[in-house]
């Protein structure tokens, strides 16, 4: 450790490959998403060959197959893509900001809050268009997130992973009971949203997709533009304070982004759990801790996981409508156990 030591000759700071392997992996994952989406459109009571799908886009002829593609299959796949991308990115941001591997919109009550907002809005003022009740979802998500964070930060130790997870579990359970209580007395609303309330892509209309997409795109854009800030936030308060990051400002920006993403995902597809937890963890195994890469990988990975598992369930159980929320729980619950058992234990 001497000051006058020169840089060793020939030690070039950055020996970069022509293409960053992470960029290549992201391209492969995106191609995988495109293929999966294509496959997902072919699945259903009538098998439609992939060639017809392209024809439906290029030379739409209002035949039965083309109508099914345009009004049923494509909206379903698009709903999966936007909800999956939004939930996974929201989960990654939450894990970064709270320095908490257990954070996700599902576990920290944000999804439950958004669902409650939607159910209340639909009960009080039916029938509402999606473009209106998405605001109820934002409001519910924001209130739930605030309550969970305040409860979880109580006491001298601040917002520890376990306290936040407990606060999330309590608020989720409480809000879910409120939602059930509202639905018990309102059979019409319950029938209308029976599938949605556990997380489902069935019966989404193109209008629904179109009215929620702007918010999801805005949320994803905000996430990508602030990913360097999110990386610094994810390294913890010690780093952030040392290098002069405005913690209050950037935590607030991140919170607004999460509410936008999780709220609109719930508005379009209901409270799908586990996506926001599983995808960021899987992605980090691949990319390391740099959120400049984690966030784009999460967007594509989340979309792929939700569309893929919905398509898989439809292809394995063609006579049954299995909501994607259930499929995700079947995949996510074992992963959660693995996480709690092996990964969280080490970091505490």
């Amino acid at each position: 450790m001497k000051l006058d030591r020169p840089l060793p000759a020939g030690s070039r700071p950055h020996q970069t490959l022509p293409i960053d392997p992470r960029a290549a992996a992201l391209a492969v994952l995106t191609a995988g998403l495109a293929l999966t989406a294509m496959w997902a459109v072919t699945i259903g009571p009538t098998r439609i060959p992939a060639s017809d799908i392209i024809a439906a886009v290029t030379r739409f002829d209002a035949s039965h197959d083309h109508l099914v593609i345009a009004t049923v299959r494509v909206p379903r796949v698009l709903a999966g893509i936007i909800a999956g991308a939004a939930l996974a990115v929201a989960g990654a941001i939450m894990q970064a900001v709270t320095n908490n591997p257990l954070a996700s919109p599902g576990l920290l009550g944000v999804n439950a809050g958004a669902s409650f907002g939607v159910v209340m809005a639909l009960t009080l003022w039916p029938p509402l268009p999606t473009s209106t009740y998405v605001w109820a979802a934002f409001a519910g998500a924001a209130v739930a997130a605030t309550i969970v964070y305040s409860l979880g930060s109580m006491g001298v130790t601040g917002a520890t992973p376990v306290k936040l997870a407990l606060a999330g579990a309590i608020v989720s359970a409480f809000v879910a009971s409120l939602t059930s209580a509202v639905l018990i007395f309102d059979k019409t609303t319950l029938d209308a949203i029976r599938f949605w309330s556990v997380g489902s892509l069935a019966g989404r209309s193109m209008t629904t997709i179109a009215s929620v997409s702007p918010y999801i795109l805005a949320g994803l854009a905000a996430a990508m533009l602030t990913r360097r800030q999110i990386t610094t936030l994810s390294l913890g308060a010690d780093v952030a304070r040392t290098v002069g990051q405005n913690l209050v400002l950037w935590r607030a920006v991140a919170a607004v982004t999460v509410v936008l993403l999780a709220g609109s995902a719930v508005a379009v597809a209901g409270p799908i759990g586990f996506v926001g937890l599983v995808v960021p963890h899987a992605v980090r195994l691949l990319t390391g801790l740099d959120y400049r890469w984690i966030l784009p990988f999460c967007a594509v990975g989340g979309a792929l996981l939700v569309t893929g598992s919905d398509a898989l369930a439809r292809s394995l159980l063609p006579e049954r409508e299995l909501p994607v929320g259930i499929t995700m729980a079947l995949i996510g619950a074992p992963f959660f156990v693995y996480l709690a058992r092996y990964r969280i234990g080490r970091s505490r």
């Binding site: 001497k2 006058d4 030591r5 390294l235 010690d238 780093v239 040392t242 002069g244 390391g288």
Partner: protein
């Protein structure tokens, strides 16, 4: 070239600072000037307020009263980024996520120099390389922090604050969890930064003899007040040690360089 008069041109100044924790004031009405281009050691028993003072100067702790001036300008009136370009802060036993590579930690030191959507510049890269070279971490750049020894880890954190290129460094117990050789590594590095770069360093240290050997000035604190302040030769005295630590001590000239060497004889009755 004559050095500026450090008494009239302090790098950092605390004026009538009162601070502490809710319901428990630790420091009340404290004045302290840190001379530019010096190594200052804050010394005192546990709970004397030395870390609290450092945290207050580093704006990690809000002031109840008074002001901290950086180059004559109130720190409270500047943005966190502006302050970070001038002052690097190393908290006590800092933590970062497992698996973070040394170079990725060091790169964070460039945060205050980058515009909101600014790209990584050659100057950013050069600052990081220099910080790695100064701390001797070039060969460990891609290792994850959790695979390093305590001393290497501490050097990685110091490298991050060096990449910040701030003229002033505030360190809270930078040697506390290190073994002796690594303690000397860190102290040698800090001293050379002051000697060769004209940096201003303020560090909370536990070992009085190390402080006397390495620091230009010593600030001894007890119960939130400064008991003695000045060069080691005038501050490390049996009287001051007795008053601050309640310890009966003999002070002799260090055979290596003549700085004061303290031998603790026993507790004062």
């Amino acid at each position: 070239m004559s050095r500026p008069d450090t008494r009239t041109d302090p790098a950092l100044e605390a004026r009538a600072v009162s601070t502490g924790y809710p319901g428990a004031p630790v420091i009340e009405g404290l004045d302290l000037a840190i001379a530019r281009g010096t190594f200052t050691a804050l010394i005192g028993p546990n709970g004397c307020g030395k870390s609290t003072l450092l945290r207050a100067i580093a704006r990690l702790l809000p002031l109840a009263d008074g002001a901290v001036l950086l180059d004559g300008r109130a720190i409270a009136s500047q943005s966190t980024k502006e302050v970070a370009r001038q002052v690097g802060i190393l908290p006590q036993a800092p933590e970062a996520p497992e698996g973070l590579a040394v170079i990725d930690l060091v790169r964070q030191g460039r945060y205050p120099h980058r515009a909101l959507f600014g790209r990584w510049s050659p100057a950013d890269g050069a600052a990081c390389e220099e910080a790695l070279a100064l701390t001797g971490l070039e060969t460990l750049r891609d290792r994850s922090l959790d695979s390093l020894s305590g001393g290497q880890k501490q050097r990685a954190w110091i490298a991050m604050t060096l990449a910040q290129k701030s003229a002033t460094l505030l360190l809270d117990e930078p040697t506390t969890y290190l073994d002796l050789a690594h303690q000397l590594d860190v102290l040698d590095l800090l001293k050379s930064l002051v000697r060769e770069r004209g940096a201003t360093v303020v560090a909370v240290l536990h070992d009085l003899n190390q402080a006397a050997r390495y620091a230009d000035r010593i600030v001894m604190m007890k119960a939130g007040e400064i008991v003695a302040e000045g060069p080691p030769g005038t501050t490390v005295t049996p009287e001051a040690i007795g008053a601050v630590f309640g310890v009966d001590a003999k002070v002799v000239a260090n055979p290596v360089d003549g700085t004061p060497l303290m031998i603790a004889v026993g507790r004062l009755p």
